[in-house]
Symmetry: C2
Subunit: 319 residues, 2 copies
């Protein structure tokens, strides 16, 4: 098997989730899982993470079956990270009921020499010191480095987080966190303050309202796919990240001004993957989508957003 | 001057507004004003409303200068409707400080025979009984009838409001009101329940997140224009309605399945007008935009949303 084109670093978890549509116990989840499965539909992902000795063989097999290189998945003594949350009162915001870090508590990712020259790197939401450590282990600067983060790190690790943001190409962050990090209220001002850190592309995630992409040379907005039934929002952001970075890796694109068309498409692919992720609990839908369904939903996004531009030199009608 | 192509029924008001960007006292506002000024950039609007004897000549002139037929603007004894509100704590939601209905309290619109055959009709947010009364006065069924409403009427006048919705072609409603009217939580389920009333086009307004358009034959989402500075959101929804209906009237379009391209464009024109409305207090920006600026912002929406579709028969890359 060829080397991975994208390395995904983050949690591998057993999630217990309740939503208005039901509940599941100890289903496979975590940032590294959702994002590697999503990117596996486009390119060859490798995962860097840690699981416990209780990790199920069938879950290793699931990753492998989706083209995920699991050589970077450390199996440590103890139990796999567990998270338990509820969306029963608000589908847009999980209430965390329980977190057991277990083997994740001492997670300290060490890259092999094979991994250290992977051209695309997604640093999922973990302690910014660890994200920096992984970035520093890369022997060749990746073509694109993206990172995610969360409110906790803005609260207690703002300095290393800022160092990280200063060095990555792409930041994925939700709207409230962008406001928290920058102290700005409007999304445009938050974006401007974040781009000033040297980011090439900023992705502000807006949950059921989709995502806004900011670049020095353009802005782009993609709505969420309208769905009658959202079952489990867990992993939507990570699936977006996997689709976004997976598409860039698949077409070998950077995130410079001249890559604008690829960045726009990558954001739509990310939205496609997120839309599948939330349709069923955990990976139940995302793991089973077909290439045809992915293409069909991409075209669904085209139909959801397209309209006729003004013809050359023509304006809108006047009275 | 030729007869109006679109009749706009609603409040004409003097608004006092405070926002984080400052405040204004007794500026011209109201549904009929914002929507007629917005549609006046595209077609010939006529306004149906009532003002008091205190209404300023300069405000009549402003309407006329924007091509608005004011023959349906009744001047009654007493004072013009006043509304006072604050966006200081939350730009997305006005806190009403004071409402003085004044002459608006006994507003009972009576159409002239000239007005009663206008081909496009926008029933702005007023008592649904009055909206029904205006609709019943039309001697020829207009090509397109649109209406707006608000939480108050869903609370206290649900029956006539439902009768109205059963008869109009287009409903503009915000997301919370759609949920309130239908009892559904997801936007897709709200939309489905509302379309079941026989609406041809449903526009769900989402404030800073733009608008979602639902039609039996397609869905369409348009984001709000990203702006560093929103000064005064008053009138954004009415400006959207004016732009939407004004565009349909200007191109003589209905809202059937075969009109999908016009409906999509109309929603973008509505978004263009709303984006101008919020840039300054009251009408300060919307009244001064040029045709070139309108076309430029329309193209701004194209650039904000466009991405390359899949080429004929081609799919996304695979690993």
């Amino acid at each position: 098997m060829a080397d991975p084109t994208i390395l995904v670093v983050g949690s591998v978890a057993y999630d217990s989730v309740a939503s208005p549509e039901g509940e599941r116990t100890e289903q496979l989840g975590g940032t590294a899982v959702f994002s590697s499965i999503a990117s596996g539909y486009l390119t060859r992902p490798g995962v860097v993470g840690v699981v416990g000795s209780d990790f199920r063989d069938e879950d290793i097999r699931l990753l492998k079956d989706h083209g995920v290189d699991v050589s970077g998945l450390e199996i440590a003594e103890g139990n796999t990270f567990r998270w338990s949350g509820s969306y029963v009162d608000d589908l847009n915001m999980a209430v965390t009921l329980d977190t057991q870090l277990n083997v994740f508590e001492t997670f300290n990712p060490t890259l092999s020499s094979d991994q250290a020259d992977t051209p695309y790197l997604f640093l999922g939401n973990i302690d910014p010191d660890l994200q920096l450590s992984v970035l520093n282990q890369m022997t060749i600067r990746p073509r694109v480095v993206a990172c995610d983060t969360m409110n906790l790190w803005i609260d207690i690790k703002k300095e290393p987080l800022t160092q990280l943001i200063d060095q990555v190409d792409v930041l994925l962050i939700n709207e409230a966190e962008a406001a928290q990090f920058t102290g700005e209220n409007s999304i445009v001002n938050s974006a401007s303050a974040l781009l000033d850190h040297g980011l090439k592309t900023l992705i502000i995630k807006r949950g059921e309202y989709g995502a806004a992409i900011f670049h020095d040379s353009f802005s782009f907005a993609v709505p969420a796919y309208p769905m009658a039934r959202v079952v489990d929002p867990t992993g939507a952001g990570d699936s977006f990240a996997g689709g976004f970075m997976g598409y860039l890796a698949a077409v070998n694109s950077g995130v410079e001004a001249e890559d604008a068309e690829a960045i726009r498409r990558a954001a739509v692919v990310g939205s496609v993957m997120a839309s599948f992720a939330v349709e069923e609990f955990g990976l139940e839908r995302l793991r089973n989508v077909t290439q045809a369904e992915i293409n069909e939903r991409f075209t669904g996004f085209v139909n959801l957003t397209r309209f006729h531009p003004l013809g050359g030199g023509q304006g809108l009608p006047t009275p």
